[in-house]
């Protein structure tokens, strides 16, 4: 497939041009022209990290680099020698800066959390031995069962069970709390019948004096 002789690939390091192995240089040049010409203005000024794929000779590399820079106004950053050692490979070996733990006060909970980036729909059950964070909604009929606390960055309409192993200190937080049922430890509570007034504020459910209490956690809003 001649169309795939040349592929522009964006990576987190920058733009690479991937050349198909079996193509000869003239095909590559033809395909580059075909790809870039129609949108020359788009490519102008772009930085090309390097070429990938087909093994090039020094001369071929220089020729391609010249074409890119002279005819299309792009800059090729990489050099022939590091062609097969992409830039990000170098970074990979580098030592990541370590984040040291710094806990300025006591009211901090440390533990494993499961992060769910989806809306949980009816019939979906999530069980986890730690905390659960949902970035999305929990719809009616969906069920979260967590040994720790549950945080929902969305609307809770289903059943949330926190502290499922009997931890009454677990809590449930949601942007919008409209659950069909909340459970903490073995305490169960449900929404009052008759769909009363619903709070638009983020709320927290926790155990107070043996009962589950739902209240805003941003007190002064």
């Amino acid at each position: 497939m001649a169309e795939n002789a040349v592929i522009f690939k964006g990576t987190k390091d920058g733009l690479y041009i991937i050349l198909k192995e079996e193509m000869d240089l003239s095909t590559i040049k033809y395909n580059l022209e075909k790809k870039i010409k129609p949108s020359k203005r788009f490519f102008e000024g772009a930085n090309i990290m390097n070429f990938k794929g087909k093994k090039l000779t020094q001369d071929e590399f220089d020729e391609l680099k010249e074409i890119m820079e002279q005819e299309y106004g792009m800059t090729v950053i990489g050099s022939y020698n590091d062609k097969d050692y992409p830039v990000h490979e170098e970074h990979r070996g580098a030592k990541k800066p370590e984040i040291l733990e710094q806990l300025p006060f006591d009211n901090v909970h440390k533990g494993e959390a499961l992060i769910v980036r989806a809306t949980l729909r009816s019939g979906q059950l999530i069980q986890y031995k730690g905390d659960v964070v949902v970035i999305g909604d929990v719809n009616p009929g969906a069920h979260i069962k967590s040994a720790g606390s549950v945080i929902v960055m969305g609307t809770v309409r289903g059943i949330i069970q926190a502290g499922a192993n009997g931890d009454y200190g677990a809590f449930i937080v949601a942007y919008k709390m409209q659950p069909s049922q909340l459970r903490i430890g073995d305490i169960i509570t449900r929404s009052p019948d008759g769909m009363g007034s619903k709070s638009d504020n983020p709320e927290i459910a926790l155990v107070k004096q043996g009962m589950i209490v739902v209240e805003p956690y941003l007190k002064n809003r």
Binding site: S122, G123, H143, P179, S180, Q181, R190, D193
Partner: protein
């Protein structure tokens, strides 16, 4: 020993759940002890239609698996005397139970209640087989559409093959004015094809939608036509001989009742 009645249809969306909820509520209003069993594991609805969704803690699968005692999973409907619901599990599927387990479950329930009413899932697969396993009576619900009638026919065949003889028919969501114009299948045609006893005909009624969304069975709404139809059906289930007004005077009955409530003004 109470009666175990399965409400089934083959096709989805014809009103099995609504029928189950209303017959169950009606029987409870008549002083019978009733338990409604949602056999639609994974797609439960009966709890929502009954307005009991947020009271579910344990479900049918928990009972079958021995996670809880039967009594713990039964939700008492506080609005009606002696009406209980055994909800289905939502996070499992039909294969979570087998027909033998259902047989035992319904058998245990029948010892405690006058009526065990099972809301069968659509289809003829595992869920259907589970639902009919313990039943000793069947109610087939259909609507006046060829597809629904075709499926009802298939279901009746399957019921008879598994020993549930003489199922009873409920024709749901009929619009008499359309039947009269010849735009909808009429009752006699359907009985001709299906050849089983008619238990009742329920007219199409906007109040069904309202009551379903509110979680209050329409049978408790005095002025509802569908509610009246369900009240008659309940009395027939109890063995009373309520005449089929709609059959004797075709659409006359509905017209009369409609006129009574001033419903005939809105033309379809």
């Amino acid at each position: 020993m109470g009666e175990v009645i399965v409400v089934t249809s083959g096709k989805g969306g014809v009103g099995k759940t609504t029928t189950t909820a209303n017959i169950g509520t009606g029987l409870a209003l008549k002083g019978k002890s009733v338990v409604l069993v949602d056999a639609d594991i994974g797609l439960r609805n009966l709890d929502v239609v009954m307005g009991l969704e947020n009271r579910i803690v344990y479900d049918l699968v928990d009972v079958v698996e021995g996670v809880c005692r039967q009594r713990q999973a039964l939700i008492k409907d506080k609005r009606f005397p002696n009406l209980y619901l055994l909800p289905a599990a939502q996070t499992k599927d039909k294969n979570a139970v087998n027909p033998e387990q259902m047989q035992k479950l319904t058998g245990d329930l029948a010892e405690e209640f006058d009526y065990v009413i099972l809301d069968c899932p659509a289809g003829i697969e595992q869920g259907f087989k589970n639902a009919i396993a313990g039943a000793n009576k069947a109610i087939v619900v259909t609507t006046p559409e060829v597809s629904a009638v075709r499926d009802a026919d298939r279901i009746i065949g399957l019921l008879e093959a598994s020993g549930l003889r003489n199922p009873m028919l409920i024709i749901n969501r009929i619009k008499m004015d359309m039947v009269k114009r010849g735009d909808m299948m009429n009752i006699d045609d359907m009985i001709d094809i299906l050849a089983i006893d008619l238990l009742g005909v329920v007219p199409d009624d906007d109040l069904i939608v309202v009551s379903t969304n509110r979680g209050e069975p329409v049978i408790a709404i005095e002025q509802s036509l569908a509610g009246q139809a369900y009240r008659n059906i309940v009395r027939r289930v109890l063995g009373e001989d309520i005449p089929f007004m709609n059959l004797e005077s075709e659409d006359g009955f509905f017209k009369r009742v409609a006129k009574l409530f001033g419903l005939n003004k809105k033309k379809q």
